[in-house]
């Protein structure tokens, strides 16, 4: 795809947009349609698009699998830890109300969902990129 200028230029324009849209979906999860799952996939899509369009020996996606794996694991860990955090404050698992700094249940829930969604987003995008890289690698 080296000489396909149209695709390259459009992609250069699109990738930042996709990234921003992904982040928008990510951070609006707690009060409108959106959330970690969708955002993760959208973010991953931008990375994959980048790799599809611009890949050659020098520029192929620099993130190596080990680091992606760490991201995935960190995402899961974040999710579980937030859940367990509720336990420490006497609530049930995933009881976000206790996360609030003030004693306001709804703000606590906001923080809780926010953190959990970040965890989910990290894991999902990581897994998506990893799946792509795995298949891409085995083709070569």
């Amino acid at each position: 795809m080296d000489d396909n200028v149209v695709i390259k230029i459009i992609s250069t324009l699109m990738i930042p947009l996709i990234l921003i849209f992904g982040l928008y979906v990510q951070f609006h999860g707690e009060y409108s349609a959106g959330g970690g799952f969708q955002a993760g996939v959208i973010l991953a899509a931008s990375f994959i698009l980048y790799d599809l369009v611009f890949s050659n020996e020098n520029t192929s996606l620099k993130l190596n699998t080990e680091i992606i794996l760490n991201f995935i694991a960190a995402g899961v860990a974040l999710y579980v830890l937030v859940g367990i955090f509720g336990l420490l404050y006497g609530g049930n698992f995933l009881d976000y109300s206790s996360l609030s700094l003030s004693n306001d249940a709804s703000s606590g829930q906001k923080i809780g969902i926010f953190l959990v969604e970040i965890g989910v987003g990290l894991t999902v995008s990581g897994v998506m990129v990893l799946i792509y890289k795995m298949f891409n690698k085995s083709k070569a």
């Binding site: 009060y31 409108s32 349609a33 799952f37 799946i131 795995m134 298949f135 085995s138």
Partner: protein, 109 residues
Amino acid sequence: MIYALNMILFTLGLVIMIRESNLVKKVIGLNIFQSSIFIFFILLSKLNDSLPPILEDYSYDYSNPLPHVLILTAIVVSISTTSLALALILKIKKQFNTIDEDEISKDDQ
């Protein structure tokens, strides 16, 4: 009516999975099969003339959000299954140099 179409999709996927000997085509069949169930769930939540379930100041008929959430999870499962299946097929391709089920089974004897 639309349920009937859905059932056709369901059967179609199942038939592809059983009939095809090409493993990749089987995976495609599996995906069709799974999608039919996803559509079935979405159909369950549909009300006539309903809007998406987003909190607004006024009240209105909204479709049931729960099946959507469920299907989101199911889709994730389906993606994992597909990718795992494809990964396994790649490995099989390396080992047997074919992705045709009949030929692999022949290799057994």
